[in-house]
Amino acid sequence: MTDTITAPTIEYLLLSPLLVVFGAAIVGVLVEAFAPRYLRAAFQVPLTLLSLVAAFALVIFVVVKDGVPNKAAAMGAVAADGPALFIWGTILLLAFVSVLLIGDDFVPSAVAVPGSVEEERAVSEGAAHTEVYPLVLFAVGGMLLFAASNDLLVMFVALEVMSLPLYMLCGLARRRRLLSQEAAMKYFLLGAFSSAFFLYGTALLYGYAGSIDLSKISTSLSSVGGQDSLLFIGAAVLGVGLFFKIGAVPFQMWKPDVYQGAPTPITALMASGTLVAAFGALLRVFWVALGNLEWDWSPVVWAVAILTMVVGAILAITQTDIKRMLAYSSIAHAGFILTAVVATAGAKQNSLALSGILFYLVAYGLTTVGAFGVVTMVRDPGGEAWHLSRWAGLGKRSPKLAMVLAFFLLAMAGIPLTSGFFAKYAVFSAAVSGGAVALVVVGVVASAIAAFFYVRVIVLMFFSDPAADGPSIVMPIATRGVVGFAALATVVLGVFPQPVLDLASKAAQSLFVR
């Protein structure tokens, strides 16, 4: 050890998207502290949206200025490479549209007991928790870092930074508050368990490799001998933490409850942004750190992928709550993406699989945000019309909205001319060329099962008579914009996917930094 410590070098430009998001979140907290209540929303909404746009612009600027970077920034803590930047752009875009969905979905006063006089007074006084905006920004910052972390310690910190605000936000739904608080509690407890598993795995892998750097773990796979049990237990336990975050079976239990209970904009953010970030981290751990261990983990991921696809698709059929149904569909989609995660072999195959996954994440993320956007629009007197029977005959009452939702559902089912088709095609073809044909067969069967419940909703909307006291349609301008944008993206990616596919394959070309 030397007596002087050399100052660390931080690549501020490469990290600027992260820094902007975190900085804006902290400014948002200051706004909460100093601005009067009636001005807060007027500050927070533009601040949040502008910071997300600025971060997105910085991602593009970084690529335009010096080409796709491929280095570990901030003393090797953050990986700035093609996939990371692509995922950053995706998360920022999805977060932007999810923030636009935020309307009157949040509780006016979280501390008031549900149904109490105090709550009524908070409603009539027009109180609002504008803290949700900085919380969302913190969560987005955590997502960005989670997908780009280059060592397990940063990954753990990012996991917490991402999850903690989400636990909070889940419990703040304005309607059906007890359900929402239950969801937050469940998510918090199970999330804490999974974080503990992740940390335990990190410790065991450190014991094996003597380092928490993903690349050093990878190199020690060939040089360290005789400690295989540490490695295997560590990898398995780490995997539990990651599979929990993507909601893969058998760690999917939280997803339906949390998606149902959370305010719908937050559900949209979790279903899109968190999934993208979690896949980024999962790929880094399994491909970079444990890449040379593929023979050992791929059977496990095979099994998890099959279970995830089948369980997600089958349980979705029995759901009567639209948000729960979308949650199970999100589980099934995580399984579809996993088919490409196991399809590794050589650099060329890997970049093919990676670009497929990246494209899938963009396409699915936008479609799912759009679908949840439609869910926020269909209202009963007591809030969103969550029960599927309330959606009967929506096609006759509001044909345009029903058509848009039907289109989103078809995209999730993977019908041609929608983004979902090319997304599924991309991951399945990568899986086939990676030798996972059996997995693709299961995937196609699961897609067919999934198509059944998507189509069932469409049939319900268009071929049954509307109830006399059916739900009303509320269309705030921002939500309308989000749904329109998502629909447009679903069409464009379904008809003319080449630019985004090119972008994804360019980002995936040099694979993850090592």
Binding site: V29, M75, E131, G142, L153, V157, L164, M168, G210
Partner: protein, 255 residues
């Protein structure tokens, strides 16, 4: 030699404490046992040449986290007991089975692992300065991002627990105005109650105040004392008479 000795002494202490933690019926005892376990761990760390870890263990875990546990216990109420009704049938059995299975799996796995000689101590001979160097160079980004976590925690606590004042706070002036408005409406005395013993020979709590004409001010009689004295049969007759003339006081006394 010394290390082995310390280990065996602390092993006995900490295992007994850990068993006590699990099996004691009172939550406070469990918390204190946890404190003992944590302190034994801290000493073990210190013996193993990890002074930083030992100090952190004491300051953060034993000092802060344990105190939080105790605060929560005190707030919830020391006497309150958990409901032990199983909501899922056979939950306890399966939980024990799964827990034991996992423990056996881990113990076998880690027990089989060959743990090489520690590398960290050789590379970084000085514990605390080396940690400082790592935190401020290699792991500086993780260290700084942790601040986001702390801000989130603080903000979350505010959102969940802070009750924002929705109505303006009543000032002294508002309260006085309210009292006089009520006086105008119901005739309720706006002034404070007279203290006991005013104009009387004693100012003890059980001596009623006297009005200028020498009669007893009924409002100054302490109702609780009067009730007690009545039950004991020592209530002075003039006080009882004064209270009888005040219907409100009698009602209160009858309560």
């Amino acid at each position: 030699m010394g290390e082995t000795f310390v280990f065996w002494v602390l092993a006995v202490v900490s295992v007994i404490a850990a068993l006590g933690l699990v099996f004691s019926r009172k939550a406070v005892y469990s918390a204190l046992m946890l404190g003992v376990v944590m302190l034994s761990l801290a000493v073990l760390y210190a013996v193993q040449d990890a002074p930083f870890l030992a100090v952190v263990q004491i300051i953060v875990y034993t000092g802060a986290v344990m105190m939080l546990f105790l605060f929560v216990l005190m707030m919830v109420g020391v006497d309150s007991s958990d409901s032990l009704v199983e909501t899922i049938k056979g939950q306890r059995f399966w939980a024990v089975l799964a827990g034991l299975g996992f423990a056996v799996l881990l113990a076998l796995g880690i027990g089989n692992a060959f743990i090489g000689p520690a590398k960290g101590l050789a590379a970084y001979p000085q514990n605390v300065p080396s940690l400082a160097e790592l935190i401020f160079t290699r792991h500086v980004f993780a260290f700084e991002v942790t601040s986001a976590l702390l801000i989130t925690a603080a903000l979350g606590a505010v959102v969940l627990a802070h009750r924002e004042r929705l109505t303006p706070k009543l000032t002294q002036r508002d309260l006085a105005r309210q009292r006089f408005k009520e006086f105008a409406r119901t005739g309720r005395n706006p002034a404070p109650l007279p203290g006991p013993g005013t104009y009387a020979r004693h100012n003890a709590i059980d001596k009623p105040a006297l009005l200028p004409d020498g009669s007893i001010a009924a409002q100054s009689v302490n109702r609780y004392v009067a009730r007690y004295e009545k039950a004991e049969g020592t209530l002075p007759p003039e006080v009882a008479q004064a209270l009888e003339s005040d219907s409100e006081a009698l009602e209160l006394e009858k309560e």
